[in-house]
């Protein structure tokens, strides 16, 4: 059962190793509901691993955590109902068309398949809806993944380098998605190398070599950027 708490994400000394290689080491992190947290750090810092642990795609090697009030291990199915992960891989079927991919995603997430066409229009792919994804560029694939997030309103949006491969217009679509989520009181955990996006966040968290290295409040973030 969910707790009546304000934390969207609450991690306690979470670690994750791949064989002998530690990717995330004893990370504790609190993200309040409605907060937009930007996670920064160099390649290999463990940001994507941490995001995938929060998404329940990976299990922690040790430590515990709750997402939207549900335990990371025992409440996986409940967490999955309430989140959307947009990661490096777009999770699309290459031999299906864009609209077939979205309709299948709608089926899996209990969303209305009739929203698929509108979602593709929203990301500027209305005219390519009936084309197979196999012929799409990386940027177009990323747009379809963004359209998938438009099918429903997840309580927690997990974005892992969502700007990779996107042109300026599509990058603005991501910005709009984050801003809309924030306005609606939903929570966003955003991993990006793009420092210009710090203004979207209420807090910036830096990760290096599997460890969190402090959090910067929104006011300081703005000051640093200035």
């Amino acid at each position: 059962m969910p707790c009546f708490i304000e934390q969207a994400v609450s991690l306690r000394r979470i670690s994750r190793a791949f064989g002998p290689v530690p990717a995330v080491s004893r990370v504790s992190l609190e993200v309040a509901r409605g907060e937009v947290v930007l996670l920064r750090g160099p390649n290999g810092a463990g940001k994507s691993t941490l995001l995938r642990i929060v998404a329940t795609a990976l299990s922690p090697t040790s430590g515990s955590g709750r997402v939207l009030g549900f335990d990371l291990l025992d409440g996986r199915e409940e967490i999955r109902r309430r989140i959307e992960l947009i990661g490096h891989r777009t999770r699309l079927y290459e031999d299906l068309t864009a609209i077939q991919n979205l309709r299948f995603a709608a089926l899996l997430y209990g969303a209305d398949p009739a929203l698929a066409a509108a979602a593709l229009e929203e990301v500027g792919l209305g005219s390519a809806a009936r084309e197979r994804v196999r012929g799409f560029s990386q940027g177009m694939r990323q747009r379809v993944a963004l359209a998938r997030a438009h099918l429903r309103s997840p309580e927690l949006l997990l974005l892992d380098e969502p700007y990779a491969g996107l042109d300026r217009d599509a990058g603005e679509l991501v910005d709009a998605m984050v801003t809309a989520a924030r306005t609606e009181g939903r929570t966003v955990l955003l991993v990006t190398h793009d420092a210009s996006r710090a203004g979207l966040a209420s807090r910036v968290v830096v990760m290096r070599a599997g460890h969190l290295h402090g959090a910067t409040p929104a006011a300081e973030t703005a000051a640093v950027r200035a």
Binding site: R81, R89, T90, R91, Y93, L96, L107
Partner: protein
Amino acid sequence: MSFARVALGVALKDLRIELGGRYAAGTVLPFACTQLVAFGLSLGPGRSLLEETAPALLWIAVLFAAVLAFRGAYEAEGDDGALEGLLLAPVDKAAVFAGKAAAVMAQLVPLACVLALLTELLFGVGPHGGLPALLATVALGTAGLAAVGSLFGVLTEAAKAREAVFPLLVLPLTTPVLLAAIRATALIQAGSQAEAANWLGLLAAFDVVFLAAGAALFGHLIED
């Protein structure tokens, strides 16, 4: 989300991908036909030998074709992390397994029928009035193969050497299904349908075991 709706959705998705890529029509069917013709030619014109070996040749051709179909079913999941999408979907994973097994079976049944027809044309052995029993054998045999292949296909998707690992895991487990299907087919072709019914019962029992095991284990296998 109902079990049946998810299973149907997954099955239709896999069949759409199959139709789009035409893997079965383009690869599996020519491979299985060539194999049957090659066996027929290598065994020579001796009629009794062909009659005795025809059921085994038919089912070995179906098995080899099935191995290719299983791999095709999971290659699409590995293309761009799609399997993670199934993992993160808040649906009963047993329904996903059922859908994937149903899609493989839907590909194997017509393939096995074509191969059975080819066996009759090449080797002169047919169901001899036992067509419903032969169709039941095809349905039960392909269901068992589809269950084993769909369960272990997901396991090998993550393996680095999946081309080597998959047959090593799947082929031994399909042996009981294969033996029962071969015996049932041989008895039907010999006109002993009452005896074939015993083997069909055994095939049905194998199917229940493998489908139940798949439904119970699939979710655990795709979790990290």
